[in-house]
Amino acid sequence: MTRKSRAFILNASEHSFLIVIGSFVALPFIWMISTSLKPPRLALAPPYLWPSHFHWQNFVDAWSDAPFSQYYINSVFVAVFVTAGQVITSAFAAYAFDRFEFPFKKTLWYLLLGTLMIPLPLLVIPTFQIVQTLGWANTFTALIVPRCWTAFGILMLRQFFKSVPRDFDDAAKVDGAGTLRIVFTIMMPLAAPAMATLGLFAFLFAWNDFLWPLIALNSPEKFTVPLGIANFTGKYGTRWSLLMAATVTATIPAVLAFLAAQKSLIKGLTAGGLNE
């Protein structure tokens, strides 16, 4: 075989690999959207991709059969506070670990890193007991407060803070700025892509979280979107058009958030991931 034809075969096989895996990954999204727009009876009929007319009624029905707008409000509420909490506590801690020397620094750092290996299912049992003792059972506080810190965030931000020259801090100090002001007005803006990444991660994590809300909440009016979906599945197990309409609405905010911050997300993820 000549070099040219070998290169051609390699190139063609790479292309087909990308297309096969790409279709496999995209298929559930395409099918979800397509089914959500089909009239309920035709959802199970011989398959076709493009609905002959768009049956938007599914969305109306799904949203009126289950209080999805309420789930949405709950999810947004929880996710916003978790995001703010994680960003602030991580920025503070990352700044301390990067810029200061203090007793037990190494010990504390390794303790934090160690938590990355603790399985969440192990923590939900005792956390539920703690939350009950604190009187937070079945409240949003239970979903928010325990989630307001993240070892991953501290780790990632520390990597980014390293690249901010210390001259900036010193100049600010000469101007009389306190530590908090330096963190808020110098470090956080300079590490904006990292902050965006962490914020998006925190938001996605809170938005998609399932096991902890499943245990911590019991009144349906407090359900977050994933709980609402799981509940809806139990009730409408075979009404696929409605189910898909519901899942489309659950998926879209996360995917939009991802598309908006894609670049910085991938950048931050790789910086954090490779330095673990």
């Binding site: 559930p28 999204f29 005792p126 407060v145 325990p146 810190w149 530590t179 998926t251 991802f258």
Partner: protein
């Protein structure tokens, strides 16, 4: 000296919020659950009766737990290996294609940001034995597809496919970053020596990416060993325990039959498993680097 003292004070003040939450919601629960794992506590009784290692010894003899353990090991192995290999190949294929890579990257990464519960519902539809897309496609070529989620022979494969689908994008991104940071000079030298295509990958890229592969594999294990969400909606651990992974087992012990002591023991075995696998993988990659 006073300056250092003041510095430490500021540092502790900055760490305090994250660290307090860490103590209350990670370290304390961890130790508390270790203690509970040696009791027969049901979550209601005020007294937590100490029963030594009985929970652990009972678990290790319980066929249901052993099945759960086996199921988890298979799931973790299949998902980690497949998503790592596919992620690597995708990153490799995309590394030469600047124009089309952005759209591909978006597609491959979308499952990572999608709620696993919602994805599980969609996959349930795709796997439906009668109206699911897979079996319709198989029927078109004359094969009667299996009852994916209802047949113990196929259910673990089905939920593993979802796990792989969810993870490919993450592995791809980490590999892509690793490839981008490889020294170009090595490649130039190898090319001068006449190395091309597959040889370059085999003898240059793969050995150089060992540390990155370790990160992808370790996070893969830590992640997939805790799998819960999509299994909860798709099979709920069934049929006949064929997808009853350790997290499902723990959830049922802790929140359905209220054996909190037993559930904590399951959690600690899960933790021990993560520590062992992580230590083993680091050792393995370290050894490989020293070769």
């Amino acid at each position: 000296m006073p300056r250092i003292k003041k510095e430490a004070k500021t540092a502790y003040f900055l760490i305090a919020p994250a660290f307090t939450l860490f103590l209350v919601f990670s370290l304390y629960p961890l130790l508390w659950s270790a203690r509970i794992s040696f009791t027969s506590w049901d979550g209601l009784n005020a007294t937590k009766k100490f029963i030594g290692t009985k929970n652990y010894s009972e678990l290790l003899r319980n066929p249901e737990f052993l099945q759960s353990f086996r199921v988890t090991v298979v799931y973790v192995f299949v998902v980690t290996v497949c998503s790592t290999v596919i992620g690597f190949l995708l990153a490799l294929a995309l590394s030469k294609r600047m124009k089309s890579s952005a759209i591909y990257r978006t597609i491959f990464f979308s499952p990572v940001v999608t709620a696993t519960v919602a994805a599980g519902v969609v996959w349930q539809l795709l796997f439906d034995p009668f109206s699911g897309l897979f079996n319709i496609a198989l029927r078109a070529i004359g094969i009667e597809g299996p009852n994916w989620l209802g047949d113990p022979k196929w259910s673990l494969i089905a939920v593993s496919i979802v796990g792989i689908w969810k993870r490919i994008g993450f592995s791809m991104i980490i590999f892509a970053a690793g490839m981008a940071s490889l020294p170009i000079s090595c490649y130039e030298a190898a090319k001068v020596d006449g190395a091309t295509g597959i040889k370059l990958t085999r003898y240059m890229t793969i050995p150089l990416l060992k540390p990155v592969t370790a990160v992808v594999a370790i996070t893969g294990v830590i992640d997939s060993i805790q799998v819960f969400d999509h299994i909860f909606v798709m099979t709920n651990g069934g049929p006949m325990g064929s997808t009853n992974v350790l997290s499902m087992y723990l959830y049922n012990q802790g929140f359905r039959v209220f054996h909190l002591g037993m559930a904590s023991a399951v959690g600690w075995l899960l933790f021990a498993l993560i520590l062992i696998v992580t230590a083993f993988q680091w050792q393995f990659t370290k050894g490989a680097e020293n070769d």
